[in-house]
């Protein structure tokens, strides 16, 4: 196949003498190897995707027709709450951290993450956090049902699940902060000689900025949920109006975390797409430095837009105007990125292997999510859209066709490097087109439902909304098959895929493609000597 080019010198790896730990527990429970921990994160994220998707099937089955079909309203609310928490904190974030673990050390020429034992701890907190969270389904009173935003006083009306929710969010937060610290320490201190900051791959840049966002806002979430905990169990009145507190203050604190959190889930996706598109366009990324500055600008702006989630709570007019304009400013650096991706493809020698399809799908569909975001940023319009299915459509275009598309694209892109095997290209493309059809069938009609006034987070609705809900549910059932499809494609690749070259893709550049495929257990034990053309961005003069 034209897209596979055999390379390469293997002297940056100690191929067969890889000293893997023996025994299952030693290998996986006590591992400090960045590749093993990356794999653990990705497997964990996959399990969480399956659980979160099963919750969404309950939601869509219930909403397939008007009236109550399968579940009681209170259980429906538990499903919407858990679906969001599991997908955000259990699937998308760990998947990106898994990709960071696998790729950042290899892309900067480091032997491992800077703090490998803390890396192990970061991961192994997560299964306990989610076991605790999901165990609430079996408690008297059930799981948290007040929405993932945990607004008081509603969220505090749950039973014992409130304490479990708060404790599990604390654990997720600690895990994320430790992961972020590790990524910053690795990128700032472990780069090989010659890998200057402005020669790093975009995926590394996007993660460096994301890690700073995580460190800045996860403590804020921890603070907010701790205040919820003390309000419920220790008699404080942070958010209790009767005791002199203010429930709207929770919304401010939550969204000061929550909006940067949205960018935490999309900036690494920008990095991934900026890796894939140049490879399959066989051209360097257009406007590399502009891309870096655009990511940094988006990260900065994410701190001054939080109240656009709260336009209808009764903000002063000046506040609403400020948050409207600051939100619309984000369209500028985001537009820079979208135009740069398109310019990278312009006059390139394009081929459309599976990772490229996911990347192009990302650019188009994420832009739709961006456009509906601009609509939501307009204060007068937002009074109509607030709490409708339009918002649900918007953030699913950003998070599913944005974040998750990029994660799937990244897995197909780096899979040959991880396993040394190619996947079946036809099945990969089938996976993409199947998803493309059903994801739009699921979420595009939700724009219409929202504009027509259907509220979100309800198990029943007016018969006027029946048709589009039916179509949306059919789409969701089709989507539900895609994790299984991906699993089968990757499993058969691992078992019987064609061997992959060191540089699995003809147009790929960067240090990760200088080591053999599969990447040996230990890479870059000695810092690599960077030769001409080895870096994806910029060359090194010796």
């Amino acid at each position: 196949m034209a897209n596979h080019a055999a390379t390469h010198d293997d002297h940056y790896a100690h191929d067969d003498h890889d000293h893997k730990p023996t025994g299952f527990l030693n290998r996986w429970l006590f591992t400090t190897n960045h590749k093993d921990i990356g794999t653990l994160y990705l497997v964990f994220a996959f399990i969480m995707v399956c659980i979160g998707a099963s919750f969404s099937v309950v939601i869509r089955a219930e909403l397939m027709r008007p009236g109550l079909q399968f579940v009681q309203p209170y259980f429906f609310n538990q499903m919407t709450t858990l679906h969001a928490l599991v997908m955000i904190f259990g699937a998308i974030m760990p998947a990106f951290v898994g990709l960071a673990n696998w790729m950042i050390p290899m892309q900067v020429g480091a032997p491992d993450m800077a703090l490998p034992r803390m890396n192990n701890w970061s991961f192994w907190i997560l299964p306990f956090a989610f076991t605790l969270l999901l165990s609430t389904l079996f408690m008297p009173g059930g799981a948290p049902a007040g929405g993932w935003t945990m607004y008081p006083p509603l969220a505090l009306q749950g039973g014992a699940s409130v304490a479990c929710l708060v404790f599990s969010v604390h654990m997720m937060g600690i895990s994320s902060i430790m992961g972020a610290i590790n990524i910053i320490a690795t990128i700032l201190n472990m780069r090989a000689p010659g890998v200057d900051l402005l020669k790093m791959p975009l995926f590394v840049w996007s993660w460096l900025i994301t890690a700073f966002l995580l460190i800045a806002v996860m403590p804020v979430l921890a603070g907010a949920v701790t205040m919820l905990l003390t309000d419920k169990y220790f008699g404080t009145s942070f958010f209790n109006a009767a005791g002199g507190g203010d429930p709207v203050m929770f919304q401010h604190i939550f969204w000061f975390f929550g909006h940067p959190e949205v960018y935490i889930m999309i900036l690494p996706a920008f990095g991934i797409v900026s890796e894939i598109i140049p490879t399959f366009s066989r051209k360097p990324l257009f406007g590399y430095q502009a891309m870096v500055y655009a990511i940094a600008s988006i990260a900065f702006l994410s701190f001054i837009v939080w109240a656009h989630h709260m336009f209808t709570v009764g903000l002063p007019l000046g506040g609403e105007l400020f948050f409207m304009y600051s939100t619309m400013l984000i369209a500028i650096p985001t537009g820079v990125k979208v135009f740069n991706w398109v310019s990278t493809m312009w006059k390139g020698s394009l081929t459309f292997e599976t990772p490229m399809l996911w990347a192009i799908g990302f650019v188009i569909l994420f832009s739709i999510g961006g456009f509906s975001g601009i609509m939501l940023a307009l204060v007068p319009a937002d009074f109509q859209y607030q709490d409708t299915y339009f918002v649900v459509a918007h953030f699913h275009y950003v998070l599913v066709t944005g974040a998750i598309f990029s994660i799937i694209g990244a897995i197909y892109y780096w899979w040959p490097k991880w396993t040394g095997k190619m996947y079946n290209e036809s099945w990969g493309k089938f996976h993409f087109w199947w998803t493309m059809v059903f994801v739009n069938l699921t979420f595009f009609p939700q724009h219409f439902l929202g504009l027509a006034g259907m509220p979100r987070r309800i198990p029943d609705y007016n018969v006027a909304f029946a048709d589009w809900n039916f179509i949306s549910s059919i789409g969701a059932f089709g989507m539900f098959l895609t994790p299984l499809m991906m699993f089968l494609i990757l499993y058969s690749s691992k078992k019987s895929g064609a061997p992959a070259a060191a540089r699995a893709w003809e147009g790929a550049h960067g240090l990760e493609w200088e080591v053999p495929s599969p990447a040996p257990y230990h890479t870059f034990s000695e810092p690599p000597v960077i030769g001409p053309g080895m870096l994806a961005h910029g060359d090194v003069s010796h």
Partner: protein, 42 residues
């Protein structure tokens, strides 16, 4: 231009990484405390 921020000595590099991690952990803890104290003042 060569990258001058990288410590080529593995031990120095490890020490620098620990220092970075410690600073970041302090930043995170400070933000947590500040938000809590500020909310108390309200």
């Amino acid at each position: 231009m060569q990258n001058h921020s990288v410590h080529f000595d593995p031990l120095a590099r490890r020490a620098a990484a620990r220092r970075t991690a410690l600073i970041m952990a302090c930043v995170a803890l400070t933000i947590f405390v500040l938000f809590f104290v500020e909310a108390l003042r309200h």
